[in-house]
Amino acid sequence: MSSILNGIPYVFVAAPLFAFILNNAVPRERMRSHAVALSGGVAALQLAAAILGFALLAASGRGEVRFGLFWSVDAAGAAYLRVNLVSLFLLLCVGFVALASALTAAKTIDDHRCSFANLFMALLLGMNGMLLATDLFTLYVFLEITGTASFVLIAMYKSSKGLEGAFKYLTMSALATIMMLTGLALLFMHTGSLAFADLGAAALSGASGEMDILCYGALALLISGFAIKAGAAPFHSWLPDAHQSADTAVSILLSGIVIKIAGAYGFIVLVELFGDLYAVRLSVAALGVATIAFGALLALVQTHFKRIAAYSSVSQVGYILFGIAAGSPLGLVGALLHVFSHAAFKSTLFSGAAALHEQLGTLDIEQMGGLQKNMPVTGFASVTSFLSAAGVPPFAGFWSKLLILISLWQAGWIGLSAAALGLSILTGAYFLRLQKKVFFGPRNPRWDDVKEIGGTIRASQIVLSAVNLGAGLCFPLVLLYLQSIGLI
């Protein structure tokens, strides 16, 4: 049993690498048609491996599984890679969103297929690497890889004029890089080693018992760096423009999982290491409130379908930050489950956007109207994503939000919990406006002859809606399973 468990972590690194090599080895003409299928296969493999790994690891009861591919892992001070329950769950989410993106990409991406596959693998490697890293510097390196890969994916299909969104993403990432590197440098200077094991509030306080200014500065810079990557409130400016100029398949990846792994996972690590420092959790909570409020308010006034979805992602990241800020295991579980449910309903929404773009040619919601009649599947999928995002009970979104609210209330932040509840009515507001303008409102004669989208996008919409509803309905079973492995 443990042999399989030890083998599984290798899949997450070997599979994308092998696919990358295969993608470039086979001559371009034949590879063109299978490139996206290959990336879909890799995503599916990762998803399966993560599920199997999670089950085995939970059953085996071992905290984590260390591995170093060619080297022994027990050398002193070795920066090995490891896999634990949190990272396995996030790897599962990565696989799930990558699969959804591949399904959409099969329809929407018709040129540069090989390059898309290459960058898809690079992005996958970046994210997997971040989740497997055991020290802050490796985490930063893989963060940069994810950043570069997603920048190129965004800028890939645009003419020189359309590079504006990608350019904004690049400049903001550069700012994040500067801050994170200085933070890491300050930390390294103070503690001598960046491995998770050595770091921790105790290590930081050192002999004198209280933190000196530089360590506070380091933490502040690290938090703002991850905030930019996560698209938290004051730093979210790049997200909508990046989404508007990126292809829909890339948008699914970007808002479905990249901002979660690059941003939220960073916060998970920080709170895990320096959680008992009240300032860290307070600043994450403050970011959370600002993110939800700004995201929702801005989403309410947009006229482009994907910008609304982008701001909605910004807003939902706020809830994940809330879960992390609570600091309790229940909060962490809530945040992770919200990562999964957000991935599910955001991918649904974006595949809806892809369908609309394919069939109508435009994504300006002012020109749409009453499409429920012509495009019932897309309409139904958008309703499931609305209900799950707004936290309407039978859907997955509600349960994860509920856990986050309970953890916030138990952490003593009653005001924040009430604010989260109040702001979720804003979530409902902008989704209802979207429904009214696009699907539910009076019919626009211009789209009378529009037919429903076919192929993989319809399949992905149906599967994703089923996941949204299914995860919600059998959530009590998930709770029982989590209790059996002692997480709640």
Binding site: Y80, G129, F142, I145
Partner: protein
């Protein structure tokens, strides 16, 4: 030793400002090379010899070569920045802001008694090879995947699109 450090910092600041301000791509490339060279010297002064070696050889050397070759290969009119990127209003105030920020940082460092670490920081017993291969295995992965991503990115940008 402190004076040399401040000189290098001064060089870096000045040439950095010129690099941002200049309209010509070539002058920008050259001044960027000088900035990275100054940072290399600074690292050497602060005792990070390996890092200094890499900095000078790779950043100021190789990168500058690539920049200049790319600029010279492309046709003549590309040397000037396209019109819409020239933000005249901003260029006036930038140097003043940067110099003031530099001065502020310096006196902040002075105030908090920021002391330079001892010249030759305690060298860990390991040689460069050992640190890279034994303790920093994850970095090997990191470098490898970074190279892959870089090549994939370059391939995308400089390739004629297949079917257009």
């Amino acid at each position: 030793m402190i004076v040399a450090v401040y000189i290098c910092l001064g060089f870096m600041l000045a040439f950095g400002v010129i690099a941002i301000m200049s309209d010509g791509l070539i002058t920008a490339a050259i001044t960027l090379a000088v900035t990275s060279a100054a940072s290399g010297v600074l690292m050497y002064l602060l005792g990070a010899k390996w890092a200094a070696a890499f900095e000078i050889s790779v950043c100021s050397g190789l990168v500058t070569v690539i920049f200049i070759s790319a600029v010279s290969l492309s046709s003549g009119d590309k040397t000037k920045l396209p019109a819409e990127y020239q933000d005249s209003r901003r260029t006036k105030r930038l140097p003043a802001v940067l110099i003031v920020a530099g001065a502020a940082l310096m006196c902040a460092a002075a105030l908090t008694g920021f002391s330079l670490p001892a010249g030759d920081a305690a060298q860990t017993g390991l040689t460069f090879g050992e640190t890279l291969w034994e303790t920093r295995q994850a970095d090997v992965w990191g470098q490898m995947i970074a190279l892959i991503t870089g090549t994939a990115a370059i391939v995308v940008f400089f390739k004629e699109s297949e079917n257009r």
